[in-house]
Amino acid sequence: MYRKKLKQAGIIYAESGDKYQNLPNFAPMQAFEEIYRAYAKMVFNLALHYTQNRQDAEEITQNVFVKVYEKLADFREDAQLKTWIYRIAIRQAFDFLRAKKAQKRFGRWVSLFQPETERTIEIPVFDHPGVELEQQEALAQIFACIDGLPDKQRTAIILLKIEQKSQAETADIMGITTKAVESLFQRAKKKLGDCLGRNEGK
């Protein structure tokens, strides 16, 4: 029943290319659940590419949809709902990674004051469920280099090469021109090659 109402209200699926037209004020939670079902997979996978860790990706997905729920009323129709959610997801992924890094730095600092026996060493876990077992080692190295790229270059590589978006779509999501996307990609490609070459020599 709500599904019908949501369709009438113009809320349905990015796959069909429809735009999110107006917010139904009769059932915001139902509208939210529809949006969740349509985009959770996209957000979860994108988060996995940034973190390569299932738990972290779940955390980011939750953060993204909490944000979507809070900001749904502010959503402007000049962007597609899918693009809007992509932008939120990218921002949330970087926020999460920055917070995690800061937490780690603080933990390391605190551990200096702890006796050596109580110190814990956290080893980053590569737990990307989308990667085949035989490719795990190679992809862990590639992702280690991607993670070292500047934020925009990293996003360009993820969107273009993993999410298989076109340059125009990537430019739209990142809010830049296609030329800028091309330039970011070329610089990222070079840095990636250098990084992998260095690692190979080790």
């Binding site: 959770a40 997979k41 909490v66 469920p129 085949e132 190979e200």
Partner: protein, 88 residues
């Protein structure tokens, strides 16, 4: 060992995975936990109207009381009694 094409083909071979089923429930729980207690605008207006009514009635009652008090004062200080001395 890592020709560019191989890197990008390895990246494009990453499978899309489904998010865990319980993630929606977890997200909804987080939303309801973080949502502030929202009071309907209707109740806000009703409360504001009640307050206004209370102030107006209070002012009216105080005004009336002051009027009465003035009368009483005038009655006390200027007794309206005939100045007749008894047992004269």
């Amino acid at each position: 060992m890592y020709p560019q094409d191989d890197i990008f083909s390895a990246l494009s071979n990453i499978r899309q995975v489904e998010p865990p089923e319980e993630l929606l429930a977890k997200t909804l729980a987080r939303i309801s936990a973080s949502a502030p207690n929202q009071v309907s605008m209707l109740w806000v207006r009703v409360a504001a109207a009640c307050l206004l009514l209370l102030f107006v009635s209070d002012a009216w009652v105080v005004g009336k009381q002051q009027g009465k008090a003035r009368t009483t004062e005038s009655q006390i200080f200027q007794p309206n009694s005939p100045n007749i001395l008894y047992d004269e």
